[in-house]
């Protein structure tokens, strides 16, 4: 078989070796060169939340396009470097390291899970790069993880759960059962609810922890049935919520019990369908249907519709938009592109990009914002996007957040 002459074999090996060595250069060329303002955008393009992540990318790209169209900053254009973190904290850390070391990004915006944002933050804060997180977490603002370069555009569990609790508890009753995903995020949600309920005389009948990612909740439902609560809080997220809502419906729990969820994702509702979510109420950072009440929402929706063939932005999509727009605005305000000065400018920023007035609290850089209470609808839907009724909008108020001292911050201004 190997009758090829030695020098031919050698040549083949050399050619193979050159190809291997040149390979990195191939994807080097794809990166744009020049003095652009680069923003790294690690999000889970593959995995359980890829639909939300892709919406985040679309909205972020819209923000970049708008800013560039308005002239950028003294002729410098912004560039979005999107990376797939596969919903995996180790992968997110690696992508962030490469964005900073190889691509030399100015800032990082992104993430779609508590664990990934914390890991991105661990990398960015050590290297003093500004990071604006666009997904929920109570932990990222706490003193242990936080840094002057850490910003949190998204809602946090405490605020969201508190808002939903404050709306629902007076209306539906005092005996509450929690079905909680057993991880930090779930625990944080329960804490938020219990705080809000403390002043209202709400009683926790049970806090049942289920494994994160569980597909079958039937084992927990008989007990909930027996407890006969006024309110069942499904303290989980995304697919877990879809599964638990479905199965709770199957077990007939909706008769006599109101089901509420701290976060009702637009994409979860689409995936789960009208039946499973019938009558379920929850919180969200944004719902496109707000546009008749909030002018900036209308403006944002219209721009999104124009850019993406009539689609409307989802809740996490809107966060992608705001996260980028805030940072780029701060670049203009600071008249600088380095993280230190832009962070200082971002701290002072007061803005209204899509849902009403917002600002970053000084002690922990949490964006103080409104929470929207929505209820799933199954009748009278004008089109496939019309899935929620907006029941209430809790206005932005710093008092609804945990205090700076509680989060471990010694300096509050």
């Amino acid at each position: 078989m190997s009758h090829t002459p030695a020098n031919l074999r050698r040549r083949r090996i050399v050619m193979a070796g050159t190809a291997v060595a040149a390979a990195p250069a191939l994807f080097n060329i794809a990166r744009a060169q020049g003095a652009a303002i680069k923003i790294g955008f690690p999000v889970p393009l593959t995995g359980a939340f890829s639909a939300e992540a892709q919406d985040q990318v679309r909205a972020a790209e819209l923000a970049v396009k708008e800013w560039n169209a308005a002239g950028g900053h003294k002729g410098q254009m912004a560039e979005l470097l999107v990376r797939d973190d596969k919903l995996n904290p180790g992968e997110a850390a690696t992508r962030t390291l490469e964005l900073i070391e190889k691509d030399k990004v100015n800032f990082v915006v992104g993430s779609l899970s508590a664990a990934t944002q914390l890991s991105i933050n661990a990398v960015t804060k050590e290297r003093k790069v500004l990071f604006n997180s666009i997904s929920q977490s109570d932990t990222i603002n706490e003193a242990k993880d936080w840094s002057l370069y850490t910003f949190h555009e998204a809602l946090n569990p405490h605020l969201t759960a508190g808002a939903v609790g404050r709306y629902a508890f007076p209306k539906f009753g005092k005996k509450v059962v929690y079905l909680t995903a057993d991880y930090a995020y779930g625990h944080e949600m329960v804490r938020g609810f219990q705080r809000a309920g403390a002043g209202l005389g709400v009683q926790t009948l049970a806090d049942i922890r289920h494994p994160l990612g569980a597909a079958d909740y039937s084992a927990f439902l008989p007990r909930i049935q027996a407890l006969k609560p006024d309110i069942l809080v499904l303290c989980n997220f995304g697919r877990d919520l879809v599964n638990s809502a479905k199965q709770a419906t199957d077990f007939g729990l909706k008769q006599g019990t109101k089901i509420i969820a701290p976060v009702l994702l637009y994409t979860s509702r689409q995936a789960g369908g009208a039946d499973a979510f019938e009558g379920i109420l929850g919180g969200t950072s944004y719902y496109w249907g707000m546009e008749d009440k909030i002018p900036s929402a209308k403006k944002f929706n219209d721009a999104f519709r124009k850019a993406y063939g009539g689609s409307v932005p989802s809740d996490y999509g809107a966060l992608g938009y705001a996260g980028i727009r805030s940072v780029l605005q701060a670049v203009k305000d600071a008249d600088a592109t380095d993280s230190t000065r832009v962070s200082i400018a971002l701290r002072q920023l007061k803005y209204d990009w899509y849902k009403g007035p917002q600002f970053y609290r000084k002690c922990d850089h949490q964006s103080v914002q409104s929470v929207v209470i929505v209820e799933s609808k199954s009748k009278g839907m004008k089109d496939k996007n019309d899935v929620f009724n907006v029941l209430a909008i809790e206005a932005a108020d710093e008092k609804n957040l945990r205090t700076c001292e509680e989060m471990g911050h010694k300096v509050t201004t």
Partner: protein, 293 residues
């Protein structure tokens, strides 16, 4: 917390319904291992494919029963192709190779479903005939899950009849006992293995379409299920059908009862069960002794 007898009873029934799904999954896995000595790491993926295809047919025809019959046939056909072209070349190379191959196959199947049906998965709903909950006297229980228990019993019975009472079932059983002798007797053992692999994957697909109305159907749903299937198969004994059924019910009940008393330890408890069984009695309840690499 008040534990009344009726709560315990309802929890038990829930455990049996859970166990029915576990049992079906384990049967497929155990069948393939018992007859072919192949550990099918793509089992969870076939389950997931069954769920997707089942929903697709339901959407196409509007008929659940039609889909229930057609889906296992389609998934089984996929299994036949897999065995013939991917697994068969690996026989004789040791137990690890088919395992590794099916591991890679699971990745391809997951991505294939993403491409075909989208990353979000498709919404599933209970067929109208089986919707609603019945009052069992001890509490409300979904009609569909009672149907699940019934359907599992039917499948197990049908499989038992096939293996014990038909001529081809006899050949399958003989083939698992001693493939060489069967070849000597003139039986095309390769064809038998092909059919068995097809049946195993068809059952996996059937579990998928049966489970679809109860949970979210998305490309990642099989990953979780795979680990659970292994636990059940090991406890029951790899290669044993009665073992798979019994172990499925046992694991379902253990999981259900642990969820009542210590819900955050429920998932851990089944792995502890698996470890204990493997260390004390590796062949499980009824597994073949001496089944080694």
């Amino acid at each position: 917390m008040e534990i009344t007898p009726s709560l315990l009873a309802l929890q038990l029934v829930t455990g049996i319904a859970l166990g029915a799904v576990y049992a079906l999954l384990a049967i497929g896995l155990s069948l393939i291992f018992g007859m072919l000595t192949v550990v099918n790491f793509a089992h969870g993926a076939f389950f997931m494919v069954g769920a997707f295809i089942g929903l697709y047919f339901m959407g196409l025809t509007g008929n659940f029963w039609f889909s229930l019959v057609l889906t296992p046939l389609v998934v089984g056909a996929l299994g036949l192709v897999t065995e013939r072209f991917l697994v068969r070349p690996l026989y004789g190379r040791g137990i690890d190779y088919p395992l590794l191959l099916t591991f890679g196959l699971s990745w391809v199947l997951i991505e294939a479903m993403r491409v075909m049906f989208g990353i979000e998965g498709i919404p599933s709903s209970t067929p109208p005939e089986l919707r609603g909950a019945v009052d069992l006297g001890i509490g409300f229980f979904p009609k569909y899950r009672l149907f699940l228990i019934f359907a599992t019993a039917v499948v197990v019975l049908a499989l038992w009849l096939f293996l014990e009472k038909t001529r081809y079932g006899l050949i399958v059983r003989a083939g698992s006992r001693d493939g060489e002798i069967c070849k000597v007797l003139g039986i095309d053992i390769a064809r038998v293995w092909l059919v068995v692999f097809g049946i195993g994957t068809a059952i996996a697909g059937l579990s998928g379409v049966l489970a679809a109305p109860t949970r979210a159907v998305n490309p990642e749903m099989g990953i979780h299920v795979l680990a659970e299937s292994f636990v059940v198969t090991v406890v029951g004994g790899m290669g044993s059908l009665p073992g798979a059924v019994l172990a499925g019910l046992l694991v379902g009940i253990v999981f259900s009862l642990t969820s009542l008393f210590a819900p955050d330890l429920a998932e851990l408890s089944i792995f502890v069960l698996m470890a204990v069984v493997l260390l004390l009695r590796p062949q499980g309840f009824f597994g073949k002794q001496g089944l080694m690499s």
